[in-house]
Symmetry: C2
Subunit: 473 residues, 2 copies
């Protein structure tokens, strides 16, 4: 793929671009390229910012198809945008062109609580999906960090995870059907309100996690399940990584299936302990949150088992009961990233995955890699899934430090590959990790990755430059 | 794709073919094309039989790569073969060429019970995987019908289901990593002993269910979970489809998550009731099996809830307790297909999927379609997943009847598409349903399906003619 400058080949700045788009979807659905809020996503802390030539806010799949068709006919890059909560720069319009924000497509198209399913437009907030499910006695389990900001379409396009993915799986596991607009502007539906389908190649899974580079997801059929009656977490602290990771392993060895199995290492605990409900002992340097859920008696039994299994070597083990305490705990957990960030004002945070038996090694190596690059480092994340948020703390105004952090991230990707893991468990490749897949896949697989992109997007206009397998094929 | 005759372009019957293959993988690993057992699969009842030019039994991924490479260099069709238990003719070498049977690749490559995972070669029997898991206190939940015959590689290549897929999902949900040989003879690994991975496009899911048309799966990392302490089914009978399907709906509406939610309609129950443990009342014309599983007390509580919910309108409700009774029940359930088959000596059985709210309609329509084509028809299957084994009984020696059954199947596929379902929930397209995807997908999706095939298999040599989206593109 060749990157094209927005100001040369694409009709950026050209008022005819806006005019033509307005004739397609209506005056009120097209904003100027400098409309605030569409040039960056959560990767802005890494200095990433684009400049769209226009922002389109379609109100239907048909409008999306018209816009994709127009962009394809006029060789204009198109960047689909959800809630903008991505960490990999996937929604940043680095080559100009059209930002297609799904924010106005947030209707619930069908809700069948008795059938454990709903159909939604892509622009609905993930938190709204979860809320609607809950109000109907059901649960949509995926709970990525920024659920109030992120859209379900964005979560699908990145196959987002979250703490409860340990028991319930990632977003894709809950999507039974997708509607998408593919090049050069056609609508396809794969799957539907059905729970099994092996008729065709799994194009649904191919679109899930494709980060807007293969098509624009416009609607989804979601699978739901009965909500657990209670959620009863256990919070345990340890003196160090070894003791904590031993405890995590014991949970699996005991044959317990908790809903979550989260951890914070010493650095992330230090950064966030002040607001930890109930606090922690001074010698606590590792924290585990494992939650039992289900029917009340069963969850209580599981919680007691979890407490027993987590106790050996622990500084402290607390079994939470009150719903308010549980909610407070998870609110705190949601704020960990911010707390870590505020230590030095900025951070570079990755989301590597390793086999569970290499978790302790990866946690220690994160700190060691930081040390090598003269950076404070820490990690936290989804221990049971071997998914670390390995993080280097930076002063975002210090270019040299940012550069060292980028180097440290390279070492981190090396580590993930060396341990037989993945360079991304949640955030995807986006722009920041483009080309990094080369560490992880054989040449034949990389070639197939590139050919998949070519058949879906022969002109390379869909979110160009993002999720590249290699920088040079 | 053009079908090529084995006897013309491919060097079928040519002793040099056998000689060259033997030089690649050794004398003992290549059988003559007429070696018994490689010309057909379970679709033989529909008259499907091929004739391979050679049968290769590789012992390693490297040998598979050598054979694929050789076939690709010499334009020889290659048909990967698992246990041969498929119903769609996916393993039948209709164009001659090489049958590549994975039967000698059945090692457990790694077993980590404490980490809930194992790595196996593709040729291991699914029942062996399940047994090894169980011996280690774990469960590999997918339980397709022919687990003693089928290989895990074949189950992955068709994304097989089974009764317990209702709670636990289909085979693909338990595969975290795949090794495969792709054209023109290269080994790729996607995923691994990890539980999350969003780094690349989901080539793993693309290979899962691809029926040997995109590559040859040689090994897999499987996810396991702690085995449920007990499995406690409830068997309920009803006077008809309406009462039975109402009961099934009530299970979901009550917010109960059973492990299975199976049904038999009047015809399949009549065909199999003689061996049903405990028998059934004379007016029983619909049967539901819903199983509670988990820790003993919790499963007992769930089983009691299931019994209560299934009771209204029932002829009889039985809650099984003893392990031997449970095993006997599932052995009987496994034999339903055979019992139905033996009614008239033959059957044409499909595996359509419909949204759960259309289940009763699809069950009735199956019988009605049969009537229209003067065929006795019945269905049974995975009610909770909306997955019917809609079946037309035939005398396999009566060509006219077979032809009418084929016509009835067409009506059935129409029905599935019209109800928003899928033409296949378990068996795949194989040869018998090639081209039928057209009923279900838009042209753009069909085109992408064909292009996916082209990038993985530009010469069209991998299981040629199988899983075609359209007959004429």
């Amino acid at each position: 793929l060749t990157l094209r400058g927005a100001s040369t080949e694409a009709p950026g700045g050209d008022p005819s671009l806006l005019r033509e788009l307005r004739s397609l979807v209506g005056e009120g659905s097209v904003l100027d390229g400098d409309a605030p809020g569409y040039a960056a996503d959560e990767s802005e802390g890494s200095g990433l910012r684009g400049s769209p030539d226009a922002v389109v806010l379609p109100q239907s799949t048909a409008e999306v198809a018209r816009v994709v068709g127009w962009c394809y006919a006029h060789d204009v890059p198109l960047v689909p945008r959800g809630g903008g909560s991505g960490f990999a720069g996937g929604a940043v319009p680095l080559e100009g062109g059209v930002v297609l924000s799904l924010e106005r497509m947030k209707r619930v198209l069908q809700l069948d609580p008795g059938l454990w399913r709903m159909r939604v437009e892509a622009g609905i907030q993930t938190a709204a999906v979860r809320r609607i499910a809950r109000e109907n006695g059901l649960s949509f389990p995926p709970d990525p960090g920024a659920a109030e900001q992120s859209h379900i379409g964005g979560n699908i396009a990145t196959n987002a995870g979250g703490p409860h993915a340990f028991k319930y799986g990632v977003t894709g596991a809950w999507v039974t059907g997708l509607q998408a607009v593919v090049a050069p502007g056609e609508v396809i539906d794969v799957g539907g309100p059905i729970r099994k389908d092996v008729a065709g190649y799994d194009l649904k899974s191919l679109l899930i996690g494709s980060e807007g580079t293969l098509g624009v997801i416009t609607a989804a059929w979601l699978r739901l399940i009965p909500a657990p009656e209670v959620m009863l977490p256990v919070v345990a602290t340890y003196r160090g990584t070894t003791e904590g990771c031993d405890a995590i392993r014991r949970v699996l060895e005991a044959g317990i299936v908790p809903a979550t199995l989260e951890y914070l290492d010493a650095g992330s605990l230090a950064a966030s302990v002040r607001s930890l409900p109930g606090g922690a002992a001074p010698d606590a340097a590792f924290l585990v949150i494992s939650e039992a859920d289900g029917e009340r008696a069963e969850a209580a039994r599981l919680q007691a088992e979890l407490s027993d299994v987590l106790r050996p070597g622990a500084v402290d083990v607390r079994a939470l009961q009150a719903r308010s305490d549980v909610e407070e705990l998870w609110r705190w957990r949601d704020g960990v990233a911010l707390a870590v960030s505020s230590t030095r004002g900025g951070k570079l945070s990755e989301d590597i995955v390793v086999p569970l038996d290499r978790l302790a090694e990866a946690i220690d190596a994160t700190v060691e890699i930081g040390r090598r690059h003269r950076l404070e480092a820490c990690s936290w994340g989804h221990a049971g899934d071997g998914n670390l948020h390995s993080t280097f703390l930076v002063d975002a105004s210090d270019a040299a430090e940012l550069e060292r952090a980028a180097q440290a991230a390279e070492d981190l990707f090396d580590l993930a590959a060396r341990l037989g893991g993945s360079i991304s468990g949640e955030h995807g490749l986006g722009w920041l990790k483009r080309g990094q897949l080369e560490r992880q896949w054989a040449p034949a697989a990389l070639r197939l990755h590139e050919q998949v992109k070519e058949i879906f997007d022969p002109k390379g206009l869909l979110n160009p430059g993002k999720k590249l397998a290699r920088l040079v094929a």
